[in-house]
Symmetry: C2
Subunit: 195 residues, 2 copies
Amino acid sequence: MSSQNIPTRDRILKSTWQLLEAGNGSAVRMSDIAKAAKISRQALYLHFPNRADLLTATTRYLDEVHDIDAKLAKSRSAASGTQRLEAWVETWGNYIPTIFGVAKALMAMQETDEEAAAAWNDRICAIRDGCEKAVQALKADGALTDSMSEVEATDILLTILSVRNWEQLRIDCNWTQARYIDMMQQLAAQALVKS
Amino acid sequence: MSSQNIPTRDRILKSTWQLLEAGNGSAVRMSDIAKAAKISRQALYLHFPNRADLLTATTRYLDEVHDIDAKLAKSRSAASGTQRLEAWVETWGNYIPTIFGVAKALMAMQETDEEAAAAWNDRICAIRDGCEKAVQALKADGALTDSMSEVEATDILLTILSVRNWEQLRIDCNWTQARYIDMMQQLAAQALVKS
DNA sequence: ATTCTGACTTGACACGATGTCAATATAGAT
DNA sequence: ATCTATATTGACATCGTGTCAAGTCAGAAT
């Protein structure tokens, strides 16, 4: 059950990712994934109990492949609070494109599917944690604005850095990734750093 | 076709709104609406060709009922650019709760339904227009920041004021409506107004 | 008084997507 | 030669949207 099915399972995850990436998030059916992975639709259910599980497994797969932990470690080593904020915005902001397809599918499912909601919420918590750490670093430097609490600052940062906002600016408004990162760093600093 | 069916049609729109408002946006089926309006599910299709049309008709109905044009006129009469920005953020930000249910349903449909996407896009254009006018007022006052173009400033404002962001802060993070308005005004001013 | 019309009802059905089940095939390990 | 894991095929249940056909029913026109 856990040992030798690696090739097929991997092929499924890879196909899922590629389809979601290409199709920009929507309208990827289980049958599409099966076709791409060159197995029958029913065989998918031998590897993943349902669509929500497949999608969350895909995000974990992406985290592994891109070694997101290592990237986060880098941003944690920033000297000052403001530098740490900048680094965090950059790291997360540059990771969004990779997971966007899966994230969008998961967000869409979340509305109807309990399990998908939980899975996505789990991801959000991880991101929130990154935001919180950045806010705490600012606070420690005495650089956090007086106009809001640490929790509020975290809420705001999390909101600014949402996948939906990335989608709106990058895709709907056609911004470049560089411009997006730049502006988000500006926006975050203006909102959180004491002037 | 257009004269005496007002009561039923109105009852449908009202029921739709109430259900979407109460159910916080999701899982409202045509049959639910029919039941609430006390007609058969099939009779719904005598009044609206499909779900997307019903939802967009509901937004128009809400616009009428709440006389949104009058409220917008007020914010247009602000003296300075910065005041106008403040007024716009307040007006739109305070209108979001009213339309949130319908908006969320429409946004969810948009992913799969071409017509729903067009309808929602139409609404977005109207909001974008409000953002653009505020940016232009700032520009006219010479108060627009140098760090971005008018288009970029509009993009940013539209993004900050998105329904999704409202949802995240108001519902997920449990902010009060007053705090939300306050912080969005701050955020918008910091981002757009020359310091 | 009868007929016509418009709004509505009931009941049946097609479609697309997810998920399940049973029966069968096939390759590799023992 | 057989056992087991992995797949396959095909059928089917469920849910929601949207369509179709046939019939009810009240009120207006003649």
